[in-house]
């Protein structure tokens, strides 16, 4: 068990290295740098080329790419220093942690909601195979797959506004936005978070319902189920006690590929609903070529996704001895 976990954690190192390189390459690709953006906006205010060059030197923008990359990564690893946000004129680490926390919160809530929706529907669809309910369940799942989540966010905003006359953007009511953390603020957050969580989570439910249904159907045909039924075990108890537990394993491992999708969905939905998470900040930073901010957000989102995947793998190993000893 420990060996398995150690192997998985070791595997993460090269993964993170490749990801950080890809991310840095992507944010390096745009022609020009923040100094150019600044120059364009400051041309009137008398800042000459010399000032721009000085700025470049100060932030190391005149160095070759790999040196910039090395400095950036070393700063993160040694001191948790993600670089400097040119646009906001503060270190990146001051900007992202709060927002990352909320991003994680929204994604995790979405995950829980996805499970809460997909699990019972999947079980139901398998137990009542080829009935109206089964088809309805698949249809709902497919609809969740086909509606782009930003459109769903728009529809919910429109519905809430035109029917209830309320606006659903944001994660906090106006009076709590700048308030320090308190129980009241957490309560306020919980009353807001379910809408983005639902919007983000609905896209992933379709595939989970299908996985659950397929797995359970595979198990239901096996001889041990027939035996249990022949011994007189009630249908519900039979379903929940044996096949469901076996069918749950692939469900847990599906976390690995559901998670990137959830983080992606969260990014878009938070832009549409203007949530105080990483999405809007990332879009802003990319448009302004605020490279360290944008890069740090993409990097941290990827890192968190991978850590989530790792956790799901460990969870699976605990649940299923076959994985541990493979």
């Amino acid at each position: 068990m420990l060996g398995y976990i150690a192997r998985r954690i070791l595997m993460i190192v090269p993964t993170m290295l490749v990801i950080s390189m890809v991310v840095f390459l992507v944010i390096q690709l745009p022609p020009g740098d923040y100094a150019n953006t600044l120059m364009a906006t400051m041309q009137d205010s008398g800042m000459d080329n010399f000032g721009v060059e000085a700025l470049r030197k100060q932030y190391g923008l005149d160095q070759p790419v790999w040196i910039q990359y090395g400095r950036w990564i070393w700063g993160i690893l040694s001191a948790g220093d993600f670089g400097y946000s040119f646009k906001w004129s503060v270190p990146v680490s001051q900007l992202i942690w709060d927002r990352l926390g909320l991003s994680v919160l929204v994604s995790l809530s979405a995950l829980l909601l996805t499970w809460a929706i997909a699990l019972p529907i999947g079980i139901f669809a398998a137990a009542r195979k080829y009935t109206v309910g089964d088809y309805l369940a698949s249809f709902i799942g497919f609809a969740g797959l086909a509606v782009p989540n930003f459109l769903l966010a728009l529809l919910i905003m429109y519905g809430a506004f035109s029917i209830f006359g309320m606006s659903v953007g944001g994660l906090f009511s106006a009076e709590y936005v700048n308030a320090p953390w308190s129980f009241a603020k957490i309560g306020d957050l919980l009353s807001h978070i379910w809408i983005p969580a639902l919007v983000v989570g609905l896209g992933g439910t379709a595939s989970l319902i299908r996985i659950m249904r397929a797995n359970l159907l595979d198990e239901l045909g096996k001889p041990y189920v027939v035996t249990a039924r022949a011994k007189g075990l009630g249908e519900t108890r039979l379903l929940l006690k044996y096949p469901l537990r076996l069918a749950l394993n692939p469900f847990v491992s599906s976390l690995a590929w559901v998670l990137p999708g959830l983080v992606s969905g969260e990014t878009i939905v938070s832009i549409v609903l203007s949530l105080p998470t990483t999405g809007p900040l990332l879009l802003d930073a990319l448009i302004a070529q605020d490279m360290y901010l944008a890069g740090s957000i993409i990097l941290m989102l990827s890192v968190l996704t991978i850590v989530g995947t790792l956790l799901s793998d460990i969870l699976l190993a605990i649940l299923d001895p076959r994985v541990r000893y493979a």
Binding site: T15, I19, P30, L145, A146, Y158, V263, I268, L301
Partner: protein
């Protein structure tokens, strides 16, 4: 009872008791079997029909749209969808038969206290088929002004799905937009197929360390959340670039991130086929690697690839829509469903003109149809399995 069943089943499987049905099954080719199995998948069949219809609309966009995508009528800004009626009873009690609509006239909405457009219930504007309207070049070549339907009156546009903020017909723009949105899906998938077949093929055929390295790379790429990466790549495209180049680059970006799924399918099939008897026979016969791949392997997993492709297209369409909606994908004057949805950015506009969300409906229908089609194809792709 059980024994009888067993005997019956054994008889069915024995080659000397060929039933007519079984004979037809054994004689049928691979594609015939796939078609037979696909035909049983009713949702897949329906999805295929709808998808074919949508692609046909995209093909004949200029002719089917009541007007062009840039033709505007200033008086019809934010026009609500115009009604289509068959029977009209005038105030004097006389009847009018035939497909018609009513022009929109400015009225004051007394509840909301603002000026809106509402159909004038008196004037009857007949809707004609094969009518001349705004001139265009069919497929960019043949100049004509023939439209499938319309009012035939240049002063009264037919806006069945309403108009946008400049008074352009939304239906026409959705129909024109289908061309970009659908083709980006096709081209994007074509590029990812190329990447997927080459990389997945190398991985599966060579195996060993190469396979291991490529698979780790695919896993890493799959574990990065795609939207932040898409936004990052799309933000690179300069605002001043020509629309055709932006279109090309966006397609490339979608393909660069989307090839991993196809590579997995191809690799899986390569691995599965590598040790099949007929492949080993071909190799012992002295056939070259290229010949084995192209002549023996590709035909036998073609159906799997087609199924994987039709499941990959909707993802591309959704991605393009999202990027364009965020303002970092395609940009006006290019018309795609995502670009059209940009008009529905803020809640005030949506509340005043909810029909601006309709391009989203086109996205949903298309994605659903393609998903059902791909699902049916995937089930039918391996007709020899039970």
């Amino acid at each position: 009872m059980l024994e009888v069943e067993h005997a019956a089943r054994a008889a069915k499987d024995r080659p000397d008791t060929l039933t007519r049905k079984r004979e037809r099954y054994l004689a049928a080719g691979q594609w015939q079997l796939i078609w037979r199995r696909f035909r049983r998948h009713k949702l897949g069949l329906a999805g295929g029909a709808v998808a074919a219809l949508i692609y046909l609309v995209a093909l004949f966009a200029e002719f089917l749209a009541p007007t062009t995508f840039e033709e505007y009528t200033a008086a019809y800004r934010f026009a609500p969808p115009m009604p289509v009626e068959i029977v009209h009873i005038a105030q004097d009690g006389s009847w009018h038969w035939g497909l018609h609509t009513h022009p929109l006239v400015p009225t004051v909405d007394k509840v909301k206290m603002r000026r809106t457009l509402a159909p004038d219930g008196q004037t009857v504007v007949p809707i004609h088929f094969f009518v001349s309207g705004a001139p265009y070049k069919f497929w960019g070549i043949f100049p004509t002004d023939l439209h499938f339907f319309g009012t035939g009156d240049p002063k009264i546009p037919l806006m069945l799905l309403g108009g946008d903020r400049l008074g352009r017909d939304l239906l026409s723009r959705i129909i024109y937009g289908s061309r970009i949105s659908l083709s980006i899906g096709l081209f994007g998938v074509a590029i990812s197929l190329l990447l997927g077949v080459i990389i997945g093929g190398i991985s599966g055929y060579i195996g060993g360390i190469t396979d291991n390295l490529i698979q780790r790379l695919v896993e890493i790429l799959d574990s990065i959340p795609s939207v932040p990466l898409w936004i990052g790549l799309a933000a690179i495209i300069p605002l001043t670039l020509a629309p055709e180049l932006v279109y090309f680059l966006i397609t490339l970006i979608l393909a660069l991130i989307g090839w991993t799924g196809l590579a997995r399918v191809v690799r899986g099939r390569f691995l599965a086929l590598k040790h099949e008897d007929f492949i080993i026979a071909a190799r012992l016969d002295g056939a070259s690697s290229l010949r084995i791949i192209l002549r023996h392997m590709v035909p036998s997993f073609m159906s799997h690839i087609i199924a994987a492709l039709s499941l990959a297209i909707p993802g591309m369409i959704l991605a393009e829509t999202a990027l364009s909606y965020l303002g970092i994908g395609l940009r006006p004057p290019v018309v795609s469903w995502g670009v059209l949805l940009q008009d529905a950015q803020n809640i005030r506009t949506i509340v005043e003109a909810p029909w601006l969300l309709l391009p989203g409906g086109a996205v949903i229908v298309t994605v659903l149809a393609l998903n059902f089609l791909g699902d049916g194809l995937r089930d039918a792709a391996d007709p020899y399995s039970t």
